[in-house]
């Protein structure tokens, strides 16, 4: 804002002052589709009510938004839909607190709010030409979904793709339909795993925690970038496993899920060391994380 604002004000009519830009004002979105992924994970498909905004809206996979239910508040989720899907965003959320409970109660046709995109997104340039090894646990898959969709849409730009999807139990596996679609793509290997005890009688996937399956799959570090997201404890061990397999820290990418409120590096909530996860993240390489204090 111009330093001369006051002078402008003093010299003219206040009515002619530029309208305020409100960084906290969300876009209004219409709920177009509701899909239950698991008993406590749901995906919403949201359409921009203002078509012009929808047309111009673009984002990088890995970026996130502040989704809000008016009356309950705002909550942060990754944008889970494909960047090519113009005019819409999708989010997947797990039932947790006040906002997610309110989101669970929305019906098709209802209005919710969306602010974004925020954050840095995945470093697409450094991924091109590489084999990609995705390892997602539980709701963490949501943060990878946009990137997976992007990579599959630009299939020729990337090498071999491995999708490792883990969950506590078979019922808790997300994106079951997407997985089928993704696995049909050329040169895509889909591995699904559930925690020991979470398997069903007819389960034909792996049984074991995600890091153990990474170990078992033993992806070749050369020419491969590993991208992982999941619960904090999974990420911790997945990073260790990948390191053991010989992945250099620069080629291991993860996204952090701190509590965030403003999304713009102001509210201070996601401050970890010198970075704000909302502005400088949420995507970090293991090397970048290594440099941060263990405060996330």
């Amino acid at each position: 804002m111009s330093e001369r604002y006051l002078i402008e004000y003093l010299s003219r009519d206040s009515e002619r002052l530029p309208a305020m830009r409100n960084i906290y004002r969300p876009h209004l979105m219409t709920v177009e589709d509701i899909r239950d992924e698991t008993p406590d994970v749901r995906t919403l498909r949201l359409a921009f009510q203002d078509q012009a905004v929808g047309e111009s809206f673009a984002f990088v996979p890995g970026q996130f938004g502040e989704y809000s239910v008016f009356g309950a508040g705002e909550c942060v989720f990754a944008i889970a839909s494909s960047p090519a899907d113009r005019g819409h965003v999708e989010c997947s959320f797990k039932l947790m607190g006040k906002v997610t409970h309110a989101l669970r109660d929305v019906e098709i046709g209802d209005t919710v709010g969306f602010r974004g995109p925020y954050g840095n997104g995945f470093p697409l340039e450094s991924l091109r030409g590489q084999n990609l090894f995705f390892a997602g646990g539980g709701i963490g898959m949501a943060a990878l979904r946009a990137l997976i969709e992007y990579c599959l849409a630009h299939r020729q730009e990337f090498g071999h793709i491995t999708l490792l999807n883990g969950a506590r139990s078979v019922a808790d596996l997300v994106y079951k339909e997407d997985m089928v679609r993704w696995a049909e793509q050329p040169d895509v290997q889909l591995v699904r795993t559930v925690d020991p005890g979470g398997e069903t009688a007819d389960w034909d996937g792996e049984v074991g925690f995600v890091p153990a399956i990474i170990e078992k799959l033993a992806p070749q570090p050369e020419g491969t970038v590993a991208i992982t997201c999941g619960p904090p404890v999974m990420i911790k061990f997945a990073l260790l496993t990948l390191e053991r397999l010989g992945f250099p820290q620069e080629r291991v990418i993860t996204t952090l899920e701190n509590k965030m409120k403003c999304g713009l590096g102001k509210c201070g909530r996601c401050n970890v060391g010198p970075v704000y996860v909302c502005k400088d993240g949420p995507v970090f390489t293991a090397a970048q994380l290594q440099a941060l204090p263990r405060d996330f």
Partner: protein, 455 residues
């Protein structure tokens, strides 16, 4: 007062067995009455929490009516009798803060008393109609209206007595001796006491884990903190069995914590200290002027102060004069006084943090489903927070005044606490922090409890 067309907005919280059924009977009997009351049905008057009444006022109610079964008729044995005590205290609290009593009314109406129900509704409506609309905004503007009120001239009257600090050095030595012994024998893993602070004339809570460290323990007239707050703090309790330096008022907090199962008696060693009173602004602190626990009511070791001069307390508690002065004001003036106070609140929750009895890890003010205490730090939210805090302390506050001491906005929380403590002493013969075996006053009742305010 108001034009004839004005319709007060009144909400009635009623129990489903008596009053709701009584209101139904009024319908069946086609008895006409005023249409301004909206009924919210609950199973029992015992389910009607003060937060409901608060929220109703916050939302703009001109009046609130609570009605349940007559004493002895409760479908749930005693819900209405518990409610009676809660409402007695809550009502007095709101009146003390300046609400007109007519706006918050209570009645017993049985399932058979259709006529009484209609009479109560008509009477309450008429009274509220006569009062006119509630002062705007449950806060906010009210304080601006009466900036020149008498209330504003009411100023804190600190104790006028001088300190007689006793033999501080000897007491300090006594504390150190016992602390050393406890640490040496392993009876305590940590001693919670007072040390010198980083600024002149300030002490600070000190945690000593090694016998050599006891030399840092101090005792003087500035040992204001109520250290018992640390007994429910994991970073302290994980250091081992706690030995705690406790003045009389601190020991009362320990009694209350025992009563509420927050500490186990055999896991704490209490180093009781005879206390001659603490200083605020160089004078004897107000609460110390009427202290009756110079010797703590509960201790394992007692450090005596041989020069203890408990003085002549004839002067009384200076706060009682302030309370009386406030109560002599009109409701509007009182309201203005407290609005001005609460407007200063910045919701730092220091009052909550220092209170030994505010041990809830998740406070009701932080709970969002639903959001009973409005999150905004405005007049509305601040008023609710302060009322909820005060009510939660009713019958439990041991009067250490820590909340008032630490309030950066100098809100007179001590007056509210004191007012409620006096009310509970007079109405129920109960004072907190003396006897851990007695049920706290709001968890019990007597059939003959006061009920003069109930229609």
């Amino acid at each position: 007062m108001s034009d004839d067309n004005w319709r007060p907005q009144i909400v009635a919280f009623v129990c489903q067995w008596c009053t709701y059924a009584g209101a139904d009977l009024a319908g069946t009997s086609r008895i006409k009455y005023d249409p301004n009351v909206r009924i919210v049905k609950l199973p029992c008057s015992g389910r009607i929490g003060p937060l409901f009444l608060l929220k109703a006022f916050e939302q703009g109610a001109d009046g609130v009516l609570v009605s349940g079964c007559h004493p002895g008729d409760c479908h749930y044995v005693s819900g209405n009798l518990l409610a009676r005590r809660r409402f007695t205290v809550f009502r007095e609290l709101l009146i003390f803060l300046g609400l007109e009593p007519e706006r918050l009314q209570f009645s017993w109406v049985s399932a058979a008393e259709a006529v009484k129900w209609t009479e109560v509704v008509d009477a309450v409506t008429a009274q509220i109609r006569a009062l006119g609309p509630r002062r705007q905004g449950w806060g906010a503007e009210a304080r601006l209206q009466t900036s020149n009120s008498k209330a504003q001239s009411l100023e804190a009257q600190p104790g006028t007595r001088n300190l007689k600090p006793g033999t501080q050095k000897a007491v300090e030595e006594g504390i150190r001796r016992i602390a050393r012994q406890l640490l040496q024998t392993g009876e305590a893993g940590v001693i919670v006491g007072y040390g010198n602070g980083t600024l002149k004339d300030v002490t600070t809570p000190l945690f000593v884990t090694e016998p050599e460290g006891v030399e840092q323990l101090v005792w003087n007239e500035r040992c204001l903190n109520n250290l018992s707050v640390y007994l429910t703090r994991e970073p302290v309790t994980r250091l081992g069995r706690v030995g705690i330096v406790a003045k009389g008022c601190d020991a009362r907090a320990l009694v209350a914590l025992l009563q509420e199962h927050q500490i186990e008696r055999d896991k704490v060693t209490i180093i009781g200290v005879q206390c001659a009173g603490m200083a605020e602004n160089g004078r004897l602190a107000a609460r110390c002027a009427v202290c009756d626990v110079h010797t703590p009511p509960l201790y394992d070791h007692l450090v005596e102060d041989r020069a203890l001069d408990t003085g002549d307390w004839a002067e009384g508690d200076p706060r009682d004069r302030e309370i009386a002065a406030l109560e002599a004001l009109t409701p509007a003036e009182r309201w203005a006084y407290w609005q001005e106070q609460f407007a200063r609140c910045i919701r730092c929750y220091a009052c909550r943090a220092v209170c030994p009895l505010c041990y809830c890890e998740t406070c009701i003010a932080d709970k969002t489903q639903p959001q009973w205490v409005p999150p905004a730090f405005d007049a509305r939210g601040n008023l609710s927070w302060n009322i909820v805090r005060a009510f939660h302390q009713a019958g439990r506050c041991i009067g250490c005044d820590e909340c008032a001491r630490v309030c950066p906005a100098h809100i007179r929380l001590d007056l509210i606490n004191r007012k409620l403590a006096l009310l509970i002493r007079d109405a129920y013969g109960y004072r907190a922090g003396y006897d851990a075996t007695v049920a706290p006053p709001l968890t019990t009742f007597r059939p003959e409890d006061r009920a003069e305010f109930i229609r």
